[in-house]
C-alpha cells in the first residue's frame, strides 16, 4: 500500500538527516584552526586585521573593494565564511545594514553575534562626523549615528587599530602582547604617513565629491568640500543639481573626486563647465592587501590634489 512506502521513505530521510547532523557535531570542533579566523566586511578593516594579526590571523574580506558596500547581497558564501569565523569586523553605523544582519543570521554562529567579543564594530570605537542624511529629508538612506565612511580617515583608523589589537588579544590571549605591539606600530605608521602626505598638498584645496564617502579627507588633508554631485545621499546626480553646482562654483578652482564604481557623468559635466580636473579613486585597498596597500591608497588620494 502507498502509505507504507511513504512512511519508510520519510523515516529514512529523518534518520539520514539526524546522522548527518550528529556527524557534523562531532567533526566541527576538529575544524577550529590554531589562528584567529577573522571575517572583515571591507578591505580597509581587513588590512588592519592582517597587519595586527600577522601569522596568527586568517583574514577574509567580504565586500569587493571596487563595490559600494551599501548595496551587497547577503550571499551564501558570506554566510559560509561567517559560520566559521571567530571574529567579525564591521564598519557599522549603518554602512552594511542592507545585507550584513541577514548574513549574520544565516551564519548561525553565536561567536559573532552583536554584543559578543567576536563582533567588532569599528564605528563604536571612534567619534563620527555628522552625516548629511541626519539633517536632510528622509530619503531612505539615513545614517543616524553619523557618517560611516571613516575608512578614508587614517587618524580614525589609527584609533580603530588600537581597539582592534586589544580585542584580538582578548580573543587570543596567548598573543595579546604581540597584537597590541603591532596595533600601536600600525597606528603610528598611519598617523605619520597622513602627516607627511598632508604636508605635500597645496593648502586651501576645494573639492567636489560624489557621495559623502570622501568627507573624511577634510579631517587630515588641507581640503574643504564645497559640493556633492548627488543632490542627496543615495540619489543619483540630476541635471538641475549639477547646473546649480556649476553656477555656485563658477570662477573658482578645485578638483572633483569620485569613487571608481560611481558613474563618471556628473564629474565630466563639472570638468567641461568649470575646467576642474577629475579623478576616479578607489575607496578601499585591494581585497588581499595589508597595511602597505592602505598606505598606497592614502598616497593616491593625496596625490590626486595639486602638490606643493
Amino acid at each position: 500500500m502507498f502509505f507504507r512506502k511513504t512512511r519508510t521513505r520519510s523515516t529514512r530521510w529523518l534518520i539520514a538527516i539526524g546522522a548527518l547532523a550528529l556527524n557534523a557535531l562531532i567533526l566541527a570542533p576538529a575544524q577550529a584552526a590554531a589562528g584567529l579566523n577573522v571575517v572583515a566586511t571591507t578591505s580597509t578593516l581587513g588590512a588592519l586585521a592582517r597587519e595586527i594579526g600577522g601569522d596568527q590571523a586568517e583574514v577574509r574580506v567580504l565586500a569587493p573593494p571596487d563595490r559600494d558596500a551599501h548595496y551587497l547581497d547577503a550571499r551564501p558564501s558570506f554566510m559560509a565564511a561567517l559560520r566559521r569565523a571567530d571574529m567579525l569586523l564591521e564598519i557599522g553605523a549603518g554602512l552594511e545594514e542592507g545585507w550584513l544582519p541577514a548574513a549574520q543570521r544565516g551564519a548561525s554562529n553565536r561567536a559573532i553575534n552583536s554584543g559578543q567579543p567576536g563582533h567588532f564594530r569599528a564605528a563604536d570605537m571612534i567619534e563620527l562626523r555628522r552625516s548629511i542624511t541626519m539633517d536632510g529629508p528622509n530619503m531612505g538612506h539615513v545614517h543616524e549615528e553619523g557618517n560611516p565612511h571613516f575608512n578614508t580617515d587614517p587618524r580614525r583608523l589609527a584609533e580603530i587599530a588600537i581597539a582592534l589589537g586589544e580585542r584580538m588579544g582578548q580573543l587570543h590571549s596567548d598573543h595579546a602582547d604581540t597584537f597590541m605591539e603591532r596595533a600601536e606600530r600600525t597606528a603610528n605608521r598611519l598617523r605619520e604617513h597622513a602627516e607627511a602626505l598632508a604636508d605635500r598638498v597645496e593648502p586651501g584645496q576645494h573639492i567636489v565629491v560624489y557621495h559623502e564617502d570622501l568627507d573624511y579627507l577634510e579631517e587630515w588633508l588641507p581640503v574643504e568640500i564645497v559640493g556633492y554631485l548627488e543632490p542627496a545621499p543615495g540619489i543619483p546626480p540630476t541635471a538641475r543639481h549639477l547646473r546649480s553646482l556649476v553656477s555656485d562654483l563658477e570662477g573658482t578652482e578645485g578638483t572633483v573626486l569620485y569613487a571608481e564604481f560611481q558613474p563618471p557623468r556628473g564629474a565630466e559635466f563639472l570638468e567641461r563647465n568649470l575646467g576642474w580636473p577629475t579623478h576616479a579613486v578607489p575607496l578601499d585597498p585591494p581585497a588581499d592587501s595589508g597595511l602597505e596597500g592602505y598606505l598606497e591608497l592614502m598616497t593616491t588620494w593625496a596625490e590626486s590634489l595639486p602638490q606643493r
Binding site: 502507498f2 502509505f3 554566510m79
Partner: protein, 435 residues
C-alpha cells in the same frame, strides 16, 4: 495505527533543545550598556496596485480547481486569483515588528493587510545563541522550502506569486505554525539543512477538515487528527563563485500524514481522507556587474515542485435523492493525484535604477487526477514581463503584463491578458534582505 511514529519524539527533542540551550548560553552572555540594536524596529510596507484584465481567459487551470472537476460552477471568490478588482487596489501591505532579546532570540511579527483583511502572516522567535551552527524557529512562519516561499511580496521580482507555489501550496504559499530546526555546516560551500514540524493546514498540501458529524447515523470518513500533521525537510547549497557571481541551489520535500477535503454537492458531501507529499528543486543565480544602482546586474531564478495526493473518497447523502436516503454512501474509491509545476525567471538591470524581467511558467506538466475514472489533463502556461523603476532605495514602481494560457477540463485553451501597475514603498527600519 499511528502513521507517523517519529513525529512525537522528534518534536519533544526539539522543544527540549529550544528550552535548554538559552539557559546554558545566558551565563556567558554580557550585555553592552547602550547597544542600539536592542530596540524594536518597526517598518511599514505599503503597496498599491492598479489592475486591468484586458482579456479574460480560463479562470482555473484544469486539474487544480480544488483538485477535482465537479461540473457545477460555484464562484465563491476564493478561486485562486489574487483578488484584484479592475482599477485601483490597496494590494498587499505589511507592518513588521522586529526585536531581539540580547543575542538569545530575535522575535518577528508581520501583519499583512489589504482593504478587507488583517492577518498575522508571521509571528515567531528564532534562536541566535545555539552552538554548533544550529538554529531553532518556533511560531507561525513561512516555510523555508524552495526559494520564493519564504519571501514576502515586496521582495519578489514580479507582482504575483508563481503559479506552482500558489496552486501546489496555497494563496500564501506554505505558511504554517510549528517548529523549524536548521543547521549550517562549517564548510567552504554554504550548506544548510533544515527540518520543520508543522501543524498542517495549508490547502494545497495538508488540507485539514477534522471530524464531521454523522448523517442519519452514518459516520463520515473524516476524523480529527492532532498536529503536527506536516513534516518538511530542505537543504541549501551555495558555492563561493568570487566577487561577481553568486548562486544557491536547494532541494526540499515534505509529507503530510493527513490530507482531508470535503465538498458539498447538491445532495451529498464528497469526502477525501488520506495523505500527501511533495518534493522540489530550486536554484538562484545572481550576477553583480559592480556598476552603480544595479546597472548591468542579472538575477535568474527557477523552481520545480511535484505533489502527490493519495486519498480514500466516500460520498454521503445529506439529503435524500434518487440514489438513497440521508446517510446513503456511494462513490467509494481510493485514488492519487499526481501534479507538478515549474517556473523560470530572469531580471536584468538595463539602466541605473531600472530593471526588466521575464518569467515563464508551466503548471501540470504531469497532471493526473484519479477521481472517478481518472483523467489526465494538459498543462497550463503563463508568460509574464515586467519593468521596474526604483527612484529611491525604498520605493519601486513596477509595470507587469501577463498572458495566461490555461487549459480547461474539456481540453480547451483560452488566453487571458492582464496588466498591473504596482507601487511599493518601505518605510521605517526595514531589515536586511536575504539572498
Amino acid at each position: 495505527m499511528p502513521r507517523f511514529a517519529l513525529t512525537r519524539p522528534a518534536l519533544a527533542g526539539l522543544t527540549a533543545l529550544t528550552l535548554a540551550t538559552p539557559g546554558a548560553a545566558a551565563a556567558q552572555w554580557t550585555a553592552p550598556p547602550n547597544d542600539a540594536s536592542w530596540g524594536l524596529d518597526v517598518s511599514l510596507i505599503l503597496e498599491g496596485v492598479y489592475y486591468n484584465e484586458m482579456s479574460r481567459g480560463n479562470r482555473d487551470p484544469a486539474g487544480f480547481d480544488d483538485g477535482h472537476d465537479h461540473g457545477h460552477d460555484h464562484d465563491h471568490g476564493h478561486g485562486h486569483d489574487h483578488g484584484f478588482d479592475n482599477g485601483f487596489n490597496l494590494g498587499h501591505s505589511e507592518l513588521v515588528f522586529e526585536a531581539s532579546l540580547g543575542d538569545l532570540f530575535d522575535g518577528v511579527l508581520t501583519i499583512g493587510f489589504d482593504e478587507d483583511h488583517v492577518e498575522v502572516e508571521e509571528a515567531y522567535l528564532v534562536t541566535r545563541a545555539l552552538p554548533g551552527g544550529f538554529q531553532v524557529k518556533a511560531g507561525k512562519f513561512l516555510s523555508d522550502i524552495g526559494y520564493i516561499n519564504s519571501r514576502h511580496g515586496h521582495d519578489w521580482d514580479f507582482v504575483d506569486r508563481p503559479l506552482v507555489n500558489e496552486y501546489l501550496f496555497g494563496d500564501h504559499g506554505l505558511q504554517e505554525t510549528g517548529v523549524q530546526a536548521t543547521w549550517v555546516a562549517p564548510t567552504e560551500t554554504y550548506t544548510q539543512l533544515g527540518v520543520e514540524l508543522l501543524q498542517g493546514e495549508t490547502g494545497g498540501i495538508a488540507n485539514y477538515e477534522g471530524g464531521q458529524s454523522a448523517l442519519n447515523g452514518q459516520d463520515r470518513i473524516l476524523r480529527d487528527r492532532s498536529g503536527p500533521r506536516l513534516i518538511t525537510a530542505f537543504a541549501k547549497f551555495g558555492p563561493d563563485l568570487g566577487p561577481d557571481h553568486a548562486a544557491q541551489f536547494g532541494v526540499s520535500g515534505g509529507y503530510a500524514r493527513s490530507f482531508q477535503q470535503t465538498d458539498e454537492h447538491s445532495t451529498r458531501f464528497e469526502d477525501w481522507d488520506g495523505s500527501a507529499w511533495f518534493a522540489g528543486l530550486d536554484a538562484v543565480y545572481k550576477y553583480s556587474s559592480g556598476r552603480a544602482y544595479g546597472h548591468g546586474d542579472w538575477r535568474l531564478q527557477g523552481e520545480y515542485f511535484y505533489r502527490e495526493i493519495d486519498v480514500d473518497r466516500r460520498d454521503v447523502n445529506f439529503e435524500a435523492d434518487g440514489n438513497g436516503p440521508i446517510g446513503f454512501v456511494r462513490n467509494e474509491q481510493s485514488f492519487k493525484n499526481q501534479q507538478d509545476g515549474i517556473y523560470v525567471q530572469g531580471v536584468y538591470g538595463f539602466a541605473p535604477r531600472w530593471e526588466a524581467g521575464l518569467r515563464t511558467e508551466a503548471l501540470g506538466l504531469t497532471n493526473d487526477v484519479g477521481r472517478g475514472s481518472g483523467s489526465s489533463f494538459g498543462a497550463s502556461y503563463r508568460h509574464t514581463a515586467q519593468v521596474t523603476f526604483r527612484p529611491v532605495e525604498p520605493v519601486f514602481l513596477r509595470a507587469q503584463l501577463s498572458q495566461s494560457d490555461f487549459i480547461d477540463e474539456d481540453d480547451r485553451r483560452d488566453r487571458g491578458l492582464e496588466f498591473m501597475l504596482q507601487l511599493n514603498v518601505a518605510l521605517g527600519a526595514h531589515g536586511a534582505h536575504r539572498f
